[in-house]
């Protein structure tokens, strides 16, 4: 087993005191970056990149990738505690994580989220270790039609799984598509729907919308309900971590399903956000506690987290073997590699063994270190909920505003965030789901590009989405996901 030997050598590189120190430092910075809305992993890595130009490349990538792991772990914290997803792939975590926190189970939710992230990442790393060259080739099969099919699958599975009426889900989703259309149109190179108003040329950023819809909307709602912050009865002892762990093994099927979905989405590279939604949808479909989803079901926390992190981790694989950044953070790391004088690509594994295996070893160690760090902080984070709402609400508001400003350093975005807050409040009052809106805002742009690129290549012929077994399968599954719930509803109606 050449891989095992190479990996052992990698561990000897990664385990030097300097690298271990950088690893923990990276994790800590990453968790902080993940917790603060508006400051994503890509930005954190970009800011710290120049700092690493004087380090040797292996130490540098270990630190930067640990920031990435840290941000992944950190993203779940605010989703669960305050219903504010710090990253797109944490949106699905809010569905059950936040209700759990409100039921006084914040610590359980956090523990489940962190442990699941760890599990998902671990499965992905094992795949990277042993199957790197094999799976890398698979990513190459993905052209525009395949990308669009995956996006379609995500949207369709959403319509099927929502507990709200399908019409409301579609309405929210199409509102999201409309917002995503504003700004630059990548296919024609022209501005759309900006009405000559300069702040709109950069379009609506997902982060601004999410901070407003979820964060501000939630605060408005809680204020109306009389400043009561539910969940302060949370039981907070370190033992809670152990007790939650005892519960987790019985969800092994959910874990495996989500990890498989995640790895597949990361390698192809469909991305972590679709992976998290799909993980949630599949878990809900197969779970015996179907009806409890959305009300604080622990399975609804661990499924999206496992999938998101399996995807996020395996997204590094196409970067190393093909030089395709599977994510914005990977794109920044890619820039770093070039500056350090390393060329990612098919030959990296051959020419830079120390670097590659040092990095892979640091993925194992970094995730273990990350799990230890975040689990140690669970009681602290859960304790935040004990602070009276009248104190914490203004703090959240300020953090939200700073976060929204930080995204583009634009004051306009802060007003936009407030606007989205009102929309979020109205959505809640009228019982429209917000997640489809967010999903459409995140993926709408990419789906549109992939759709139009496909049609450009096929001169407008829709058969391109059934042109080979891979794309035909995904498209068919997507359409079935869309139609199946409707057929079920029809059958139910005829029986009556």
């Amino acid at each position: 087993m050449d891989e095992i030997q190479a990996l052992m050598q990698g561990f000897s590189v990664a385990l030097s005191p300097t690298n271990l120190g950088l690893m923990f430092l990276g994790i800590l910075l990453g968790v902080i970056i993940g917790v603060l809305p508006g400051l994503g992993g890509a930005n954190g890595v970009a800011i710290l990149l120049p700092l690493t130009f004087s380090m040797n490349p292996t130490s540098a990538i270990i630190m930067l990738s640990c920031i990435y792991w840290g941000a992944l772990f950190g993203g779940a914290i605010t989703s669960i505690l305050f219903n504010i997803p710090g990253e797109p792939w944490s949106v699905a975590t809010t569905f059950d994580g936040y209700p759990m926190a409100q039921n006084g189970q914040a610590a359980q939710a956090l523990t489940a989220a962190f442990s699941s992230s760890f599990f998902g990442a671990l499965v992905a790393i094992i795949i990277i270790t042993f199957l790197a060259p094999l799976v890398a080739k698979f990513a190459l099969q993905f052209g525009p039609p395949e990308f669009f099919a995956v996006q379609l699958l995500t949207f369709c599975s959403f319509v099927g799984m929502s507990k709200e009426p399908a019409f409301k889900t579609l309405a929210a989703m199409f509102f999201g598509f409309a917002l995503a259309a504003i700004g630059m149109d990548n296919v024609t190179g022209q501005l759309r729907l900006t009405f000559g108003f300069e702040p709109l040329i950069k379009g609506f950023d997902f982060l601004i919308a999410v901070i407003g819809l979820f964060g501000i909307g939630e605060i408005l709602l809680t204020m109306e309900e009389g400043l009561a912050f539910r969940g302060k009865t949370a039981k907070i002892t370190p033992a809670v971590v152990w007790e939650t762990w005892k519960m987790l093994p019985k969800y092994w099927k959910t874990y495996l399903r989500s990890a498989a979905v995640g790895c597949w989405m990361g390698i192809t590279p469909g991305g972590a956000t679709p992976a998290s939604f799909m993980g949630y949808g599949i878990a809900k479909r197969f779970s015996p506690n179907k009806d409890n989803f959305g009300k604080g079901e622990i399975e609804g926390v661990l499924a999206p987290e496992t999938a998101a992190h399996a995807a996020g981790t395996s997204a590094l694989l196409p970067m190393l073997t093909l030089g395709i950044p599977g994510s914005p953070t990977a794109a920044v790391l890619l820039g770093g590699l070039l500056v350090w004088g390393l060329q990612p690509g098919p030959l990296l594994f051959v020419e830079q063994k120390d670097f590659v295996w040092g990095l892979i070893a640091s993925m194992y160690l970094g995730n273990i270190a990350g799990l230890v760090v975040v689990l140690a902080t669970v009681p602290w984070f859960a304790a935040i909920l004990r602070i009276p709402f009248s104190i914490i609400a203004p703090v959240i508001l300020v953090i939200c505003a700073v976060g929204a400003y930080t995204v583009h350093s634009s004051m306009f975005d802060v007003w936009l965030m407030m606007g989205f807050g009102v929309i979020g409040y109205v959505f809640k009052k009228l019982q429209y789901p917000m997640a489809p809106l967010v999903l459409a805002l995140v993926l709408g742009d990419m789906a549109e590009n992939a759709f139009r690129q496909s049609l450009l290549s096929s001169s407008g012929n829709l058969s391109v989405f059934f042109s080979n077994p891979l794309v035909a399968t995904i498209t068919t599954v997507a359409l079935v996901m869309l139609v199946w719930p409707m057929l079920q509803a029809l059958r139910g109606a005829t029986k009556k």
């Binding site: 700004g183 190179g189 972590a272 995807a311 395709i324 690129q453 001169s459």
Partner: protein
């Protein structure tokens, strides 16, 4: 937005600054510095090693730490202040990138930032700010509106010329102050290495025979890649299906996966795939062959024929240059010209130029302005002809 696949390149907005978490970051930075200190860092002022922490702390402008390390700080700045400038930045310099994180302009800006920090070339610090909205219009409008602000510089790509024409957003290079050309980025015609085409002639003949069905992939729409595609169509009397993607790396991989037939990627976007034996360069869109003689795959950059040699009389190079806001003084411009000269003299810069097979022409002052004016006119004419002008 860390994980999503397509969101990574030129057209995507990035972010600004570490903002409110500065304090926390500074504390962590000090810890990093303890580990870095062991390494020898050459000071850019020709003085013996100055610990790197000084610049980092300056960069973060975190007052407590400043006080704590004031002794080191004072000595370091004293060393660097020896050269007499009529003007010097007094606060953090913002380096605006009118594109998203991870693209060519972003890489270069971050390299400059890294070099400036490592070699102590600036008394204050430099931060890179991505403003890529609206194909770069966001960043250029910010410069246009920052009249007289000498603590803001912007790096350009061809969108300086193409975005105002293609989108109608009102800005032009004349709204800014030219500082210096850092380099010119080359363009190469690439095909998949498994395709039968060995020369540009063979490929063009195949495009002709294909009756407009062959696909050319490129970054963005109505930008440099599509302009070159239009130039090829005109010169050879052929037709491509142009498929726009979001970034150069994505384009290169699509070519490896045979979802398109050719690209006009920059060298740095495609070099890894070339070395890996997945792509084949056919010709370079420059008047003369590239300078880099080192073998990359089966051949070196310098062995790639020019497109002109191959019967495609097309020259196109992309500006990697620096501009300042309008209304700055000549002394302020002189400072940045000098700074960029120092950056270009470092070994890190030389290595980057070599790897990306850049054309290392340098220009400043009137010569640079004249070059930019000429390119602007050329782009307007090219885009007019290709029908890439925004509808009024």
């Amino acid at each position: 937005m860390t994980y999503d696949s397509a969101a990574h390149n030129r057209a995507k907005p990035g972010m600004y600054d570490i903002g409110f978490s500065r304090a926390v970051f500074s504390r962590e930075l000090i810890r990093i510095n303890r580990t870095i200190r062991a390494q020898n860092l050459q000071s850019g002022c020709g003085q013996p090693t100055t610990p790197k922490k000084v610049t980092n702390v300056t960069q973060l402008r975190f007052s407590k730490i400043k006080v704590a390390l004031s002794a080191a700080l004072v000595s370091a700045t004293a060393l660097c202040a020896s050269a007499a400038f009529a003007w010097e930045p007094t606060k953090t310099v913002e380096f605006v990138v009118p594109a998203g994180t991870g693209g060519g302009a972003d890489q270069m800006a971050r390299l400059v930032q890294g070099i400036v920090t490592k070699h102590n070339l600036l008394k204050s610090s430099m931060v890179v700010v991505n403003k890529g909205g609206g194909a770069g219009a966001e960043g250029f409008l910010e410069m246009k509106n920052a009249k007289g602000d000498a603590h803001k510089i912007v790096i350009t790509l061809s969108n300086l010329f193409t975005t105002p024409v293609a989108t109608g957003v009102p800005f032009s290079w004349k709204d800014m102050t030219p500082v210096a050309m850092l380099a010119l980025d080359e363009f190469v015609l690439w095909v998949n290495s498994e395709s039968p085409y060995k020369t540009a002639q063979e490929y063009i003949a195949a495009v002709k025979a294909g009756g407009g069905k062959l696909r050319m992939g490129g970054t963005g729409s109505r930008q440099e890649d599509q302009i070159i595609t239009a130039l090829i169509e005109k010169a050879a009397g052929v037709k491509f299906i142009y498929v726009p993607y979001k970034g150069g790396g994505e384009v290169a991989v699509q070519l490896v996966g045979k979802h398109i037939e050719s690209t006009v990627n920059n060298p740095i976007e495609a070099v890894a795939q070339w070395r890996g034996g997945k792509l084949r360069p056919l010709c370079v869109f420059d008047g003369k062959r590239l300078a880099q003689k080192e073998k990359i795959a089966d051949m070196s950059w310098s062995e790639i024929p020019t497109c002109k040699e191959s019967g495609l009389d097309i020259e196109y190079l992309m500006l990697r240059g620096v501009f300042m806001a309008p209304g700055v003084t000549p002394d302020q411009v002189a400072f940045y010209v000098d700074l960029m000269k120092k950056v270009r003299a470092t070994p890190e810069w030389a290595k980057f130029m070599d790897e990306g097979a850049f054309n290392t022409t340098f220009m400043s002052g009137a010569e640079y302005a004249a070059w930019v004016a000429k390119e602007d006119t050329r782009h307007r004419a090219l885009m007019q002809e290709a029908g890439f002008v925004a509808a009024k």
